[in-house]
């Protein structure tokens, strides 16, 4: 396909409260900083309260029309939780990439009901069946090492930044504007750890 490298459709998923909104805001900022057209869409309200959340971000060098990504049209799935990665896997196009946080949050249907949380063994085959690549990132662990487990979303952004052809500086400038001054160093380290986690992978 002849789509330019910076026409990118992102789908971000996770559980309410995991920081998907901050991550999608930064993705939108990065696009503006890189002089791309951008649209971002998310659903508020009922989707919070521990429910599963999804947001869409679309970049294009000229014009983005639809604010949402259709099923089978995402280039990148950024999942903050493994079950949610599987739930929205079908949004990826063949050849797309899933960046998945190695984190399970057990839903109430499992903890108080009869449902079963799918084991890690499903992850690789599911994404393989879609003809996509999956990168698993230990977001919470790396964030903890950087100083605070809450920076897991920034670790994930760091990992994501490695698979996109933009200079690291652009990401960093946008991050700086979104995080409080006193957490700058923490976030810098979290971002770097995320980048490194992808770099170190055997290709």
């Amino acid at each position: 396909m002849s789509t330019p490298a910076l026409a990118v459709n992102f789908v971000l998923t996770g559980v309410g409260g995991q920081g998907t909104l901050l991550a999608s805001n930064i993705l939108a900022d990065v696009a503006l900083a890189a002089s791309l057209d951008v649209k971002k869409s998310e659903v508020h309200g009922m989707a919070q309260r521990g429910g599963s959340v999804i947001s869409h971000v679309r970049w294009h060098p000229e014009a983005v029309y639809s604010p949402i990504v259709g099923v089978g049209e995402a280039d990148i799935l950024l999942a903050f939780e493994k079950l949610e990665a599987l739930r929205y896997a079908h949004y990826l196009r063949p050849g797309g990439t899933a960046v998945v946080n190695d984190m399970s949050i057990v839903p109430i249907t499992v903890s108080a009901g009869g449902a079963v949380y799918p084991g890690d063994e499903y992850l690789a085959p599911a994404f393989a069946a879609l003809g996509t690549t999956v990168l698993t990132v230990p977001g919470e662990r790396l964030a903890q090492e950087a100083g605070n487990v809450k920076a897991a979303n920034v670790v994930l952004l760091g990992a994501l930044s490695r698979v996109l052809p933009l200079p690291e500086e652009v990401w960093w400038t946008c991050l700086e504007q979104r995080v409080p001054q006193k957490f700058l160093e923490l976030n810098r380290q979290a971002f770097a750890a995320g980048r490194a986690a992808v770099e170190q992978r055997p290709s």
Partner: protein
């Protein structure tokens, strides 16, 4: 300067640039952020009104005072405000008046799907339908100009994907802000809608629609984009974006004004294309209009009537109908996966509604519910709410069932914000007509569901001014309820005692269960995660209250052969509901946790309350 704004932020910005002084709203997804954002601008008055009808009346009053005024609400809010919309169409106003309706196709956060473009033709007011944030801002300004030019309220209609999508917007300056009039207008023929005067106004309204029909023919809010003439698509709102995306070669008539429709423009467009197609979300509003012009077209025969559109849906439907799509649709892939567990929204850990619902579940009583976080009490394992229609319906539905002679007493349950919204008149009715129901007001001192907006029980206004709390107890008594009890919503025993007492009265009764929402900043500061003690035997009672912080551990009780409970300390807030209901005293109290903190955690073997058993 360009900034990325959500549709809601852009509408607020547009109102500000348009010189709006007064804005009133009741929160409701996807409209809520419009007023939250507007309240951040200097030189404005804005408020959370107690409900949408009140909000629209407030805006009408401000417009009668000569100011530009806006009311904003979700689609179903317009149902509540509809009475006011219809009179306002007849009266018009002195200053510009815009009603923002945020529709919710796919019901991401709503009890029903409805297409509020219908209200425009119904109430005879023009309707603008923006398709991105830039248009949200521009159309908002245009709506105020239109309102004043034609002396009519204007409906600015959006959908979730417009309200909650963010796109770049060119910012402008604040326009002229007209001062308020010195005097209230005194013009009975125009402003006093008794039958004789209203009969005079109806022809004015219809004549106004005719003038709008002329105006709309040349309005820059509509435009034709000529491309290939084989297929021509008439579209509006977010559907325009899907049309551009999926049918890049087709000619497009993009409507910014969806009522009244530009008849001549549509005819010209239809004449210029071989195949005429209407692409719109929800109802066939434009399609019906086009057909009324006698023009054959396709629309809902191709695209779905129900739910939200997206590029994939439009591509699939378009390809099936032989329309020129950008690329073939991909079939939904099959993925080797077991059935995935759902992740529905749930009552949060520490939710102040859980204490009441665990009792209602235990009593197996019939519960007529309402809309708010507490609606989630219907979910298993609690399953303790059996009816939920629209805001405020809980009380009168229980009342009606009681008056019909139902064989069991029904408990009505609603939140504080919902009580102020539409619960009040229903409770007056209960007192007056003596319905034998128990009402439980779940008073968490905020409008939690929509993101913690202030309400009359909160003590602050939208613009962060302190105000007097409208206390529930004297209010409920003044409405004529004799049996009123207030309990702490975390106090399981108290709730049960009050419940017994009030149920025994066999007269209208109200329980107020009070505890500030656990997500409020003051509450967060008091979180203390609890722990499960060694004497847990896996009886499972704590699993039945549906707390996300209580997990099944991998450890199995050797006698019971059931998993022991485990508390996720990252989620637990220490509400102690589970502590109180545990039959084996196997969950710590907050005090015990504090003691633990003080002593060395690891060396302290914790004893259940009352000592080892």
């Amino acid at each position: 300067m360009k900034r990325i704004l959500s549709g809601n932020e852009a509408i607020a910005r547009g109102a500000w640039e348009a010189g709006v002084y007064v804005a009133a709203a009741y929160p409701g997804t996807p409209s809520t952020e419009i007023l939250e954002e507007f309240s951040r601008f200097p030189g404005v008055y804005c408020e959370w009104s107690s409900n949408e009808k009140v909000a629209l009346d407030v805006a009408v009053g401000a417009a009668l005072a000569g100011r530009r005024a806006m009311a904003a609400m979700k689609h179903v809010g317009v149902n509540v405000a509809a009475d006011s919309l219809f009179y306002a169409s007849y009266t018009g106003s002195e200053g510009g008046l815009v009603l923002v309706s945020a529709d919710d196709p796919a019901m991401h956060s709503s009890q029903n799907e409805q297409d509020n473009r219908r209200y425009a033709s119904f109430a005879r007011v023009p309707c603008l339908d923006p398709s991105d944030s830039q248009e949200c801002k521009d159309f908002c300004i245009a709506a105020f100009n239109l309102s004043e030019q034609f002396d009519t309220p204007v409906l600015l209609r959006t959908t979730t994907r417009i309200n909650h999508s963010s796109t770049p917007v060119e910012l402008g300056e604040r326009g002229e802000v007209r001062p308020a009039r010195k005097k209230f207008p005194r013009n009975a023929a125009k402003y006093v809608m008794v039958p004789a005067n209203a009969r005079g106004r109806h022809p004015v309204v219809e004549e106004r629609v005719e003038r709008l029909r002329e105006w709309v023919e040349t309005s820059p809010l509509n435009r034709i984009e000529w491309r290939d003439r084989e297929v021509g698509i008439i579209t509006a709102g977010v559907a325009y974006q899907y049309a551009r995306e999926v049918f890049p070669t087709a000619s497009i008539l993009k409507l910014g004004v969806v009522f009244p429709l530009p008849a001549a423009l549509i005819r010209r467009f239809a004449a210029g294309v071989a195949r005429l197609v209407v692409l719109e979300e929800l109802d066939p509003v434009i399609e019906e209009g086009v057909r009324l012009l006698g023009l054959p077209c396709e629309g809902k025969s191709i695209f779905p009537l129900i739910g939200e559109l997206d590029p994939a849906v439009v591509r699939r439907a378009g390809a099936t109908a032989g329309l020129p799509v950008d690329r073939p649709p991909v079939p939904r892939p099959s993925i080797p996966l077991p059935e995935l567990p759902g992740r529905p929204p749930v009552l949060c850990p520490g939710c102040s509604h859980r204490g009441v619902f665990q009792l209602l579940a235990k009593k197996r009583v019939a519960v007529s519910g309402d809309i708010g976080c507490y609606t989630l009490g219907f979910l298993p394992p609690l399953s303790a709410l059996h009816f939920c229609g629209c805001m405020g319906a809980s009380i009168a539905v229980a009342h009606g069932a009681a008056q019909a002679g139902l064989g069991e007493r029904v408990v009505a349950v609603l939140g504080d914000s919902t009580f102020y919204h539409t619960g009040l008149p229903a409770l007056v009715n209960v007192a007056y007509n003596k319905a034998n129901i128990l009402l439980i007001i779940l008073d968490n001192r905020t409008t939690a569901m929509t993101g913690h907006q202030a309400n009359p029980g909160t003590g602050v206004t939208l613009q962060n001014q302190p105000t007097d709390v409208v206390e529930l107890e004297p209010l409920v008594r003044a409405l004529g309820i004799k049996h009123v009890a207030t309990v702490g919503a975390y106090d399981v025993k108290e709730i049960e005692r009050a419940y017994r007492e009030l149920m025994a009265t066999n007269e209208p009764a109200v329980m107020i269960a009070r505890q500030p929402c656990v997500l409020l900043p003051e509450s967060r500061r008091q979180w203390v995660p609890l722990e499960v003690l060694e004497n847990c035997n896996g009886c499972g009672v704590c699993f039945r209250i549906g707390c996300p912080a209580i997990l099944k551990s991998d450890e199995i009780d050797p006698v019971n052969n059931k998993p022991l409970a485990l508390i996720d300390k990252d989620l637990c807030t220490g509400c102690e509901i589970c502590t109180q209901i545990c039959p084996h005293d196997a969950i710590t109290t907050r005090d015990q946790m504090r003691l633990l903190e003080d002593s060395d955690h690891s060396s302290c073997a914790l004893m259940p309350p009352g000592g080892a058993q």
